[in-house]
Symmetry: D2
Subunit: 390 residues, 4 copies
């Protein structure tokens, strides 16, 4: 990936900002407000938080005499950056009716105008351009989060409203194939000059054992076999924490699967539809991915294996694939400097890496070295299973 | 109070339904949706639930061929009537973005049309008329709840938006006077033919000791003295559960009091204003009312004492007054029959009675025998303190 | 009841102290230490706390130059008297292995010696004698608590060890009879000069409606009918909080009932035995007593009714009977003065009164005006059901 | 390490069993019973559980006609092996007063007699010998746990009783030195024929970057500097979960540090003593170790680095050192077969590896490839900090 020019950056900024609004277009006002579970944020919060990022990281420090749109927004729309001051509790975002959706849209416009003003002053320093690119990537991440959260919000309503009306094609039958990785030393991490997050750096050597990665994701049909063989009831298949999670939450199927009279349905952004057995299984926790892979006689790949697999096979993912790698710093890892240093490093504890991107990941956002990460019990993201063997 | 004629009932029905909508008029759509704490319901839920009551208690059983507006609404808008089927959890009402406010308004219209149709059929039986009157009173109760909940919802937002713009007059200085009640046997409970809830019945004899009730409510100024004498820090003033409550929640003042630079302000439906020392102290828990009365060398009155006080003094309340009476059945108490039997009786445990009505109580709704009740830690209702002595 | 002379008090003191030790004699050292649930205290804690009461209420203030046995014991063995300083959390009593049982027995001897020394100085003031009598009654209360807690502790062990080996006689068949109470004004509360707790005072007039009280307690057989008619599954029989309690705790029978192959057994201090259908049902929560009485078409009596019943019928209780009366202050109630003022008054919130004593209540401890009280979900005490009707 | 002969195994078995009893000798009966926090087990539970392991893994499957000592003990003393049946909840071990310490000692003798009988039959198969060796190592692990738990139990008591009376020597001043590791491919994991746990296998190649490891552990004095520079108050030093942990638990110093009048003391198995600034800091969570290392400008080593460091430097640890490595399976990892397959693998989620052993680790138990692991918030084990740099 190449470095972007200023005009390309501005173009990208405008497009990404517009695209966020497009994602929300099918929503009614009420959909923007609710937070059915703590990890799902109200869409209006995403609209404001991505704007806050540009305001607080760029306009406040770099635009002389910039006046904040609203002095309370730093408290309300900071997600977790301690260096940027106190912030409203994540779990309580759905308690707020104000600012309204309309006020937040005005906030977006206000900040966009000033960003464009700053960029058009022709005196950009490197730092501003870097932060702008980071802000664009940040907003793209939230576009995917928006789709995850919108799906959860709609799926909480008893009538399961549809987000978009397009029809989903049926998947074709999987052809099982394995991709080989030779034993040896590999370079892992981001190499070229283009943008990457700090957690993809530095590029470093890593020793990989001989392994094979299955080219196709695990399908609904394969996962259904696991369920029907009573996989959720067999302690020996599960990590200890996973077994607690299954029992505490009475988990019996992936998120969004609904059983009606002996048949499984799946809630999708296109509404409820009968389970497509050839489509990849989605909305899976690490615990489930790990138990399934053990049940199937395989294992989950490491993140290094998936990076090599992806770079060599050129297979792009429909779903983020859980890896067996806890999310840890690369050797020689350094945080971004300043408040944005809180972007990645402080979460390197008790989470697992997912690789490969998904259909909700914005174009131009993803790289082969991209490290997504979630706690092992989460499954409202578009996660799936890819298996490996020695 | 007299019994109402059919035409009076219809008139009352129309007025009360309209009045609920009026209460919500100052809200923006987002305000209708949120539930900042479990006991505060989203306003759109109130709009739907009061309608559900008429639909489920009257239209479904008494109107031939009535078709429900939406078959899911019985699940969503039943509050707690087990006899009426399963219901959505109270604490999760704020998770739902749908049905929208607009759909709920259509629901209201639909049910109102059929209620009027039923009433105009000229063949009302006693039961329907009773349920209609009960439904009207039920909706009036929710009008007060709406104002409580709206206040809490607005007060959660960081900018403390104003519900109404009218200016509040300053209270005049309190003149301390005591009203005497003689020792002896009194009749307690609802006597005449007009409407009452089941918990006000039967009228029965009760022996009261000699006592005096203060005519004026405890003021903000008096309560401030309690605070400044470190009342919240003295275990000996508090019930054991109250002391736990104070410490677990770090309580230091009534709800809605805000301290800024050595001065107290109070959030009201008219916005934030400086504390009016002559106005009655409001949004007080039973624990606080009890501790204050102990600190002041007095006690809280019993509910019987306040019933006699009110009937003889004709002093109407600005605020619901906590009594020292746990909420218990009157001797010979019988539930209403059927699902509405769950209206009152099943809450007769670990709550305290409040008497006197408040400025948010709808006209024509209140009677001297009215028994309001809340758990001792609650304070988002319009509650205050009236003291007694022997 | 008469006032006791000094020599009678000393005799009573010695006997009661000895009797506490006797109650613990069947225990092994390990039984003295554990706290299986927060409300059950380790027996060694009871041995120490009852001693602390004499030390802290009498020896420290009234015996010149008295030196505490151990300066840490005030922290460890104060139960809840805030006026007596900080105290170890109730729920954490079972965390402590030290002081050992043997050290606590030395503590008991040390304090007894000084109490006897103080009493034999011949200069007792009224206050000391009153506190001594209070301390004796306090220790008697803890004797009953010891039996409750020992039963729970033994019953937690998988082999259900027996506390005492004596054989229990089978109860004879109940003869159903009702005792009538006439409508009118009655005197309620402690009247004579003998000892009473502050919560039994003052004696005052109360108006009772005409009622009948059943002379026999509800039997296991009667309660079994309630279970078999699916009483635990019918929401309409339960208070709202009671219904939550049943479902949150999956309650299906009284505490200590064990079902084995279609038969019920009951764990008793005499070991596990087959359920005696004629014996009174025990270890019942208020919620269960209330639901049972509603199911049977009756109601629970008020505490005033049971006081009159007991004084007139001379029927003494095998089990503490739940009343429908929340635990509230009598008109004109005043706390004991000083730290012992925390004995009763501060618990007058969200508890219910039980009347009548039980077979574990020490002789000479009980009076007809005695007010026992527990939260409505508790059932490890020896509680039962007596029903009333109008 | 070499394989052991049968007679060496028997000798080792007898010694280890005896040594467990020796560790408990300073305890009074009450100390054997309590469980002050869920992760600390009562010493009598350890005595029984280590015995259960031999009974259930060896005697039951391999000794014909073996009769269990007590049929309930499989339920009570199974720790977490689902394949071995249901088990008593870990957090509720301290609820049980029975079996008594004395009964458990009889249980130990009974099982030891049968193990010796089985071994002396002269017909051992490989599996029995392997399980015996595993059982011995398992009991040695519990010896260290016993010391951890005893320390916590004694340290909970207000008088901080001393476990042993020997005097602790003062540490000498640290000489700061760094040990270099060259970049390249290394073999990691257990190699020779001697015993190891499954999680140390298979031996595999791993690529290490150039690094340096400090030879001396972080001292109390160095850690005190971190505290005095307000390290516990600076969000930027902490992992996100670590920052929550510090604030939720109000952590201000290592476990067992006690501040009295501006001076720090440390509770040790030898009683309370003034903090020795030259001694290594102990009872540190991963969160603290990570924050300290960031504050000091260094980082924690990986587990691979510490394995190489230890094998080359021959520096043995006084304390288990936290590594930055989440506890994950080695490439090609396979569980032990059968119930003992639950020994290690199912905990490979959200824990961190510690390396190096500690002074409480039994002799002959530790290997350089040994992987200890704990969740990042735990600190009742003998954990310390060793730092690394690139």
């Amino acid at each position: 990936m190449e470095e972007l020019s200023v005009s390309e950056l501005i173009k990208s900024f405008v497009e990404v900002r517009q695209s966020t609004i497009e994602i929300c277009r099918p929503l009614v006002t009420e959909d923007y407000v609710v937070q059915p579970i703590p990890q799902v944020s109200p869409p209006k919060w995403h609209l404001a938080h991505t704007t806050w990022f540009f305001e607080e990281m760029i306009l406040v420090p770099f635009l002389d005499n910039y006046k904040r749109f609203n002095k309370n927004f730093n408290l309300l729309f900071n997600s977790y950056y301690k260096a940027a001051g106190k912030h409203w509790l994540q779990a309580e975002r759905g308690q707020l009716s104000r600012p309204t959706v309309s006020e937040i849209k005005n906030y977006r416009q206000y900040v966009e105008d000033f960003i464009e003003k700053l960029l058009n002053m022709g005196t950009q320093n490197e730092k501003v351009l870097f932060l702008l690119e980071l802000g664009i990537h940040h907003e793209q991440q939230h576009q995917e989060l928006l789709l995850m959260d919108i799906k959860y919000i709609l799926g909480t309503n008893i009538e399961l409203p549809t987000y978009r009306e397009t029809e989903l094609a049926k998947a074709s039958k999987l052809k099982v194939e394995w991709f080989s990785i030779d034993e040896g030393v590999y370079e892992i991490g981001h190499k070229d000059k283009g943008f990457s997050y700090d957690n993809e750096l530095p590029c470093h050597k890593s020793y990989l054992q001989k392994s094979e990665i299955r080219t196709g994701l695990i399908t609904n049909g394969e996962y259904l076999e696991f369920i029907e063989s009573r996989g959720y009831e067999k302690a020996e298949l599960w990590l200890s924490l996973g077994w607690d999670w299954v029992n505490d939450n009475d988990v019996k199927a992936p998120l969004y699967w609904i059983r009606k009279e002996e048949k499984y349905f799946e809630f999708t952004l296109n509404g409820l539809r009968e389970l497509d057995l050839n489509a990849p299984v989605a909305h899976i926790s690490y615990f489930e991915a790990d138990a399934f892979s053990r049940w199937s006689g395989h294992r989950l790949p490491t993140e290094q294996e998936l990076e090599i697999f992806e770079s060599k096979s050129q297979i792009k993912g429909e779903l983020w694939c859980w890896t067996s790698s806890h999310y840890s710093p690369y050797p020689g890892f350094k945080n971004f400097e300043g408040a944005i240093g809180e972007y990645n490093g402080k979460f390197m504890c008790n989470q697992f890496v997912l690789r490969g991107g998904c259909s909700a990941t914005p174009k131009n956002h993803y790289r082969e070295t991209y490290r997504n990460f979630y706690p092992p019990h989460e499954r409202w993201m578009f996660s799936g299973i890819r298996i490996a063997r020695n």
